[in-house]
């Protein structure tokens, strides 16, 4: 089953004066996939979304969304995509139901506003003016507007910025529900957890370049990610014995704790079994897993949250 990709980007190039926003970006998004684009502010995420959303003309490169060129075929493409833009708004005095009604009127194919509102937990806010919605409600409202016409591809730029963790998780559920209906989603984020938990694949971008693109797990693994098991022992024990175990890569002592780095789900079990066989009881056992955050640091040399 090799359906045509829903989004294809080949050699996307875009600069604003001296600032490079997209540099030889090449990737594709399979139909029904959630692709996350992660990078610091100014890395080129918004430029990418704007080029795909027909708002900006690339300097060079081939873009295809549902087989259409966003620059040339904008009129054919716009009815088929749903877009949530980072710096976009609606008039403060516009009521939510009016906004949905208005956006629905732009489309031939559309869902019932009441259904979309109910799905996004906004049924009670239909009569509230945009300016009176909370941050989370506003974000959900923009998602509702992006979904009113049953788009095949949805582009979401920083959709959970400014939301509290609970609201953010609510939005993730919505995005997953979209994907489960077969919608292709490209989203940008600068929240590592969002990329890790929500996205099928993640593109890491830095200065307009894609430095890595893979599933979150494989990105972590490729960046040298591993598991770490640490514990204390109060009986003397020759640590070399642990070093010979298959999943173990390295054993060392840090601040009076033994730290074992290795791979695989069985790491902790094997270590404890080996220690127990020698009659040693490890205390205060902790296990940690490298995260996408570590991978991002390794790939870009930058921390995501420093701006």
């Amino acid at each position: 089953m090799t359906a045509a990709p829903a989004i294809e980007v080949r050699g996307l190039q875009k600069r604003y004066g001296a600032a490079i926003a997209a540099d030889a970006m090449t990737f594709s998004v399979a139909a029904g996939e959630i692709l996350g684009v992660i990078g610091r502010n100014g890395a080129g995420k918004t430029t990418l979304v704007e080029c795909l959303a027909t708002l900006r003309r690339p300097d060079a490169g081939e873009l295809r969304v549902l087989g259409l060129d966003p620059t040339r075929d904008g009129r054919a493409l716009r009815p088929r995509i749903g877009v949530q833009l980072q710096s976009a708004a609606l008039p403060d005095r516009l009521r939510l139901w009016e906004a949905l009604d208005l956006f629905a009127s732009f489309h031939r194919k559309r869902r019932r506003s009441a259904d979309v509102l109910a799905e996004l937990g906004l049924a009670d806010s239909a009569n509230v003016a945009f300016g009176d919605l909370s941050g989370g409600q506003k974000q959900r409202a923009f998602i509702a507007l992006a979904l009113i016409h049953e788009p095949e591809v949805v582009l979401l730029d920083e959709l959970t910025t400014g939301l509290d963790p609970q609201a953010r998780r609510g939005i993730w559920d919505l995005v997953r529900a979209m994907r489960d209906r077969g919608v292709t989603v490209l989203l940008t984020t600068h929240f590592m957890e969002e990329a890790e938990r929500l996205c099928d694949r993640v593109a890491v971008i830095r200065h307009g370049r894609i430095v890595a693109l893979d599933t979150p797990e494989r990105l972590v693994a490729a960046a040298g990610g591993c598991r770490r098991v640490s514990f204390r022992i109060d009986t003397p024990f020759d640590l070399d014995g642990l070093g010979t175990l298959t999943p173990v890569r390295r054993v060392h002592r840090v601040d009076g704790r033994v730290v074992v780095e290795g791979d695989g789900d069985d790491l902790a079990v094997e270590i404890i079994r080996t220690l127990a066989a020698s009659g040693v009881r490890p205390m205060d056992v902790r296990t940690e897993q490298s995260t996408l955050e570590d991978a991002f640091l390794a790939l870009t040399g930058e921390r995501l949250d420093e701006s």
Binding site: L55, L85, P91, L102
Partner: protein, 247 residues
């Protein structure tokens, strides 16, 4: 066209919900009419000579309504829509870009028409407002005047760097213009020097054209006024097209 009618309707509702804009376009000209009408009345031997004051002043108030919605409301609204990203959001819908702006213009034109209707109805009910003109030239004068002011408003929105700038520049042009052009105050009250200098103001020619149509002066005597307004409309539109930005 799909959605344009709905957007126009929504824009009209939003206009009414913005108390300040609604007041200045719809209520303020009526208030002026009430105040000056109460002071000077509408007798043919009154302050404006052989026509009643209200009959003489009404075309100016019509010009005031047109300038308020065309220049000020349109200019500031479009600049604000751009600044807030509302134009951006509408641009990623199937609505054609031109249609987004056309809906703004259409909504404000309807508002202008309603404002003029309220003004005329008030004048008629309270002061026995009398119009010597015929419908054709009156409609043409209203259309030409609106085209000029709406084009200027669109030029203002395009040139202004921000919504605040559009507001500041718009007010700075609007207030002197309504008093010097004969829109808010009868021209006869102004010193000659100022009256002559006021020919540089587009609204002066709007007032002239509306007064001529109102008093039934043959339109063939107004060719130079029509030419000035036509040229202003073309130049303002060209400036708007040339400098317009969506964000």
């Amino acid at each position: 066209m799909r959605g344009v009618g709905k957007l126009t309707w929504v824009e009209m509702k939003l206009f009414v919900r913005e108390p300040l804009g609604a007041f200045f376009t719809l209520i303020f000209p009526v208030v002026l009419l009430l105040i000056f009408g109460a002071v000077f009345g509408n007798h043919t031997s009154g302050a404006a000579g052989d026509v009643g004051f209200v009959d003489a002043a009404t075309p100016g108030y019509v010009a005031l309504v047109i300038a308020t919605s065309g220049l000020l409301s349109l200019g500031i609204n479009v600049a604000r829509y751009r600044e807030q990203g509302i134009l951006r959001r509408l641009r990623v819908t199937p609505l054609r870009p031109g249609a987004v702006l056309a809906a703004q213009v259409a909504a404000l034109f309807v508002v202008t028409t309603i404002g003029v209707g309220m003004l005329l109805a008030t004048g008629r009910a309270l002061f026995g407002l009398h119009c010597a003109g015929t419908p054709g030239p009156l409609a043409a004068a209203f259309a030409i005047s609106s085209a000029t002011m709406f084009a200027l408003g669109m030029a203002l929105a395009s040139v202004a760097a921000s919504a605040r700038a559009a507001q500041a520049v718009g007010m700075a042009i609007f207030y002197p213009m309504i008093f010097l052009s004969g829109a808010a105050l009868p021209r006869e009250l102004l010193p000659d020097g100022i009256r002559h200098a006021a020919v540089v103001l587009p609204l002066t020619h709007v007032v002239t054209l509306l007064q001529a149509a109102w008093s039934g002066t043959p339109w063939t005597t107004q060719l130079s006024t029509i030419a000035v307004l036509g040229l202003t409309t073309v130049m303002a539109s060209a400036l708007a097209v040339w400098s317009f930005r969506w964000e």
